[in-house]
């Protein structure tokens, strides 16, 4: 299922131009990171993907569906959106009910829902907390609950807004594992993130936004080494890349192993 953002312009009420002629195609199964400073338009763009916002000009196609012709609830069959602040959506009395909300709305049977919920909770590491009240969990775990809620919907596309924000080491590792599992299962993932290490570790494609426009779009290895470009979006390259550049190493190492290979070569 392909996603097409076709020359979209969007202005918030009060004349704030948030997207200025944005065009983007996301192929099925891609893992794409959306980076840029706060206010660049990342959230605005993400909200166009599930119909929360409709383009002022241009159009957005999710598969063959034009988002202007479908409600957000309908688009939820294809696009699951995990919000940045978990407290903006948690409402059920138990974690299980919370995670079941999405699949049930999408019309899954009770049995299918139960399976999806169990699997999702296992994936985020909260299998043992299914009967807990969401607000009894610390905020980082609440965020994992909202991630599980989105996983349980089993949609072809997932949009994650700052999935690692506020997580400690363990949480970041879990989110990373989940992204890899989703990639293996052939799902399409788009993540908004400030965490450059997380971006480099899991996303093959990087799109950089600034001032409501896409200023770069390409393979992670290509984009993440262009410090000046990234600086225009008020973003720095991942730490490994910065170190490689400081040491004069050729290439763009995105993993520790890649860095050390490069380093070893240079030593010879």
């Amino acid at each position: 299922m392909e996603i097409l953002v076709d020359d979209v312009t969007f202005t918030y009420p009060g004349n704030v131009l948030a997207l200025d002629g944005v065009t983007l195609t996301v192929a099925s199964g891609e893992a794409m990171a959306l980076i840029g400073e706060n206010g660049a338009g990342k959230s605005t763009l993400a909200r166009h993907l599930n119909g929360l916002l409709k383009p002022g000009e241009g159009r957005v196609l999710v598969g063959e569906w034009d988002t202007r012709e479908h409600t957000v609830a309908q688009l939820a069959q294809r696009v699951a959106f995990a919000f940045q602040n978990p407290d903006d959506q948690l409402f059920a009395r138990t974690v299980r009910d919370e995670v079941a909300f999405g699949p049930r709305n999408l019309g899954r049977s009770a049995a299918e829902t139960a399976t999806a919920v169990e699997m999702a909770l296992e994936q985020v590491g909260l299998g043992g907390r299914a009967d807990a009240h969401p607000y009894d969990l610390p905020v980082a775990d609440r965020k994992l609950v909202t991630l599980a809620a989105v996983l349980a919907m089993e949609t072809p596309l997932l949009v994650l807004d700052e999935p690692t924000a506020g997580q400690d080491a363990e949480g970041i590792r879990r989110v990373g594992d989940i992204v890899e599992q989703l990639k293996d299962a052939g799902r399409t993932i788009i993540a908004i993130t400030h965490d450059m290490e997380f971006c480099a570790a899991h996303f093959g494609r990087v799109v950089v936004m600034a001032g409501g426009q896409i200023i770069a779009d390409g393979a992670a290895g290509e984009i993440l080494r262009q410090s000046e470009l990234l600086a225009r979006a008020d973003v720095q390259p991942p730490q490994l890349v910065r170190l490689a550049q400081a040491l004069g190493l050729p290439g763009t190492p995105l993993t520790r192993a890649a860095f050390l290979d490069l380093y070893e070569e240079k030593q010879q």
């Binding site: 939820a76 699951a80 959506q89 909300f101």
Partner: protein
């Protein structure tokens, strides 16, 4: 990004520079006069008399527009209900089984006039007076800080609350909750909204209460103000005159009512 829930229009005019309590007294005078004015058209005269100060404050057009918008629904329903359903009375126009009664029409016109004067006075005050300055003035006269604080934060926090409600609704819609459907669906859609809104708000309120403590809000002892409110003997005198005037108007009206037309 939210904006405060306030009608205030920032202008550099003599009206704006008046002490808030002067404007409050002025608005109260118009209010009392507008309601007590005799005759069917008395209140309309009072409303028209609002225009000179409104022009002075360069808020005449916004005032007229806002007053029109606010009063129109009342006017329409009064006209329809009282005009056509006045018991007994003198019909002056007949449309099929319904007839427009003179007494009902008169009642509707007079009541609309009063509402117009009320809304107009309110607008004269709120369009020209920044809420925190009014609260500061009241605070200086002894209104408890807790009260003025609550009134002010409601103005600023309500839009934030609305924004939060919208975000929560977006989150639930993104999980398949159908909100764009028949009325029954829309009502059901509200249920998953309430808990996050309330719980989230409680957490926010708790943090805000603590944040206030950190800024010594709970400290007893005299407080000062960064910005002093400009006042003058002339304005103080004017305020007393306006208050006496309002009382006099009420007195005259009662006198007229007692002694009969």
């Amino acid at each position: 990004m939210t904006t405060p829930f306030s009608l205030y229009l920032d202008r550099e005019t003599g009206l704006h520079r008046l002490h808030p309590l002067t404007k409050l007294a002025l608005a109260l005078f118009y209010l009392v006069a507008g309601i007590a004015a005799p005759g069917v058209w008395g209140s309309y005269t009072v409303f028209l008399l609002l225009l000179p100060p409104a022009l002075w404050g360069r808020i005449a057009r916004p005032l007229l527009v806002a007053a029109g918008k606010a009063v129109l629904p009342f006017a329409v329903s009064l006209f329809l209900v009282q005009g056509f359903f006045w018991p007994g009375g003198t019909p002056i126009l007949t449309l099929g089984p319904f007839s427009l009664k003179e007494e009902g029409l008169v009642f509707a016109i007079r009541s609309t006039g009063r509402i117009l004067a009320l809304v107009g006075s309110f607008l004269l005050l709120t369009l020209s007076t920044r809420p925190d300055r009014l609260m500061q003035a009241l605070g200086e006269r002894g209104t408890p800080q807790a009260l003025t604080y609550i009134l002010l934060t409601t103005l600023q926090i309500v839009p934030r609350f609305q924004e939060k409600a919208r975000t929560i609704l977006d989150a639930q819609r993104s999980r398949g909750l159908e909100t764009e459907g028949n009325p029954w669906q829309r009502v059901r859609a509200l249920l998953p909204l309430i808990q996050p809104l309330i719980l989230g708000s409680i957490v926010d309120i708790e943090e805000r209460a603590i944040a206030l403590e950190v800024r010594a809000f709970g400290r007893s002892g005299p407080k000062t103000n960064l910005v002093a409110l400009a006042d003058s003997r002339g304005q103080q005198l004017a305020r007393w005159l306006l208050l006496f005037g309002a009382v006099a108007v009420v007195g005259a009206r009662l006198f007229l009512a007692v002694t009969g037309p």
